[in-house]
């Protein structure tokens, strides 16, 4: 019993790495331009489809394909921001919400037309093999999820904290007008931030494809995961976002174990609503980086 619970918690921790990464993308966009980017989940799933339906069948090895997906998604995120989403900014909260929601609808249904509603997944040895850790067994792919998610968080924190680009992004997020006085073009920063966000989404999409099956509508599910992770972790804190991902994944796995597989998501939703009732500011204070 104890071992079983430990195994669930360990699996939750590891899967939480992927969920944290999913939340990170939403956090980046909200942190820089205060937009809740409703198409984020669909960009993740777009990356997964690009990998599984276009690149891998064409004979590209999975790792090389992943290396192609990430810059391509950076470009898509950048271009969407520069030519579509960016034009809706500065007129209140409604326009960017309608625009990103519209993009979500378009991406989701283009995927449906192009790749049908069939379940997809990335066939690899990662998903079928397991790793033994002191009497516990976890799927290898979940270890990869966690390691890659954590690495992305570390890279992101380093870029934001230590580089000129990171300083410019943070300055723009603080006060876009004053950033302009320094010679920073906020629109350029927003496009770069949206590109980085989409690139983290691409990494998440590759992991998603390796971890489980997905459908065109999985984009909505991923957006809600990202949203929940961010709400639980505290708006605006990347480290909190990551911890939120772990909590959410644990809630899903415990719910699935205790109530049955169809209760995984609903348990996680209930935990999020509970956090919202008890601690609406999230689990970590906003001041954390």
């Amino acid at each position: 019993m104890t071992m079983q619970l430990l195994e669930i918690l360990l699996n939750g921790l590891l899967l939480g790495g992927l969920y944290g990464l999913i939340g990170l993308g939403l956090s980046i966009n909200f942190g820089t331009m205060r937009v809740v980017y409703l198409a984020h989940g669909d960009l993740i799933v777009l990356a997964a489809y690009f990998l599984v339906v276009a690149l891998v069948p064409a004979g590209v090895p999975a790792l090389a394909a992943a290396a192609i997906v990430v810059p391509v998604l950076f470009g898509i995120g950048w271009a969407l921001q520069r030519f579509v989403v960016g034009r809706s900014l500065g007129r209140g909260i409604l326009p960017p919400l309608i625009v990103t929601f519209g993009i979500s609808m378009v991406v989701q249904n283009v995927l449906l037309l192009w790749a049908t509603a069939n379940a997809r997944t990335l066939q690899s040895s990662l998903a079928s093999s397991g790793v033994h850790l002191g009497g516990l067994t976890v799927p290898t792919v979940r270890l990869v999820d966690f390691a890659v998610g954590l690495a992305c968080l570390a890279i992101l924190l380093a870029v934001l904290g230590k580089t000129a680009l990171g300083r410019a992004l943070r300055a723009t997020s603080d006060d876009a007008d004053t950033a302009r006085l320094m010679g920073i073009d906020p629109r350029r920063m927003y496009a770069i931030a949206a590109g980085i966000s989409a690139a983290t989404g691409a990494v998440a999409g590759v992991l998603l494809a390796a971890t489980r099956t997905f459908y065109p509508t999985t984009g909505s599910e991923m957006l809600l995961v990202a949203f929940e992770v961010v709400v639980v972790g505290g708006l605006g804190s990347f480290t909190g976002t990551f911890l939120g991902g772990i909590l959410l994944a644990m809630a899903q796995l415990i719910g699935a174990h205790a109530l049955g597989p169809s209760y995984a998501q609903i348990t996680a939703h209930a935990v999020v609503l509970l956090v919202l009732v008890l601690r609406p500011q999230g689990l970590l204070p906003r001041t954390a980086p």
Binding site: P95, F101, N109, H269
Partner: protein, 325 residues
Amino acid sequence: MTDARTARRIRAAIAAALVLGLVSCPAWGGDSARTTLIVFAYHAALAQMWNLLAGYAGLVTFGQQLFIGLGGYTLAVGCERFGLGVPAAFALAAVVTGGLAVPVGALTFRLKGGYFAVGSWLVAEMFRLGFGNWGFVNHASGMFVRPARSVDPWLIYYVAVGLLLAMVGLVIATLRSRAGLALMAIRDAEDAAAGLGVHVWRVKLLAFVVAAVGTGLVAALITVQTPFIQPDAAFSIEWSAEISFMAVVGGLGTVEGPILGAAIYVVLQQKLGGSGAIHLIVLGAVSVIVMLVAPGGIAGLVRDRLGWTLVPIERRPPVRADRAP
């Protein structure tokens, strides 16, 4: 620019023609006109309720499918499980959706702006999954509403038109009242409105409850017409795509906008076959384009070009001719 009296006459004539046309439909329309107009009326009513929230109260939500599902299921469960008559179950839908809107609003209002939009979506998603797991409502396979089969389609038609007219009337009356002023103050500057003594939270909750009841009643009527309900369809995010499309394309923050939007929606639906991927791609793409090119929608374009609105709500001070532009 048309002068005030002519404008009033044109408005009255258009409104009278629309109402007369709708009410007299049995005299000139057949079954297909009736079906089309029912679809038009309930979409226009749904969009009107969303407009009350997003266009006037500053509450942009993608979670109204919660009240669509709840209203529909209240009717279905009332008829099928509790043996209520269709009218009683219909009335119960208003009570249930309105009653549930209070805790849902209290909870989701803790989220601001875009996070509120997604938070309300999340609550709807929870209900979709919950109903899908609930044996009492037949899990995800859904329920037939047998008593609804005997309802006269023309009765459904008149209730649909009546609901639409009532909601339009309610929105106009609300907006011209003090509550309407408070709503628009909140939308434009929430903190300033609070500073002026507006009970922001209470006014927003009131709008949220009113929209929930209106949406729930429409959903109950849809369920009478179908007469079948299933969680994946009833609580689907696609409702939000349709509703926001109509309000945005017609013109947010205007009373005529959602009605125009619903008319366009119905035409599009007939051209594109009603559902499926292409339909949703068009809705999404058109919403994006309208938001970028003409954020005021059709009503906004008409106002900018002709200086004229069908239903004036804004109480602008009269523009004096001697003031320099």
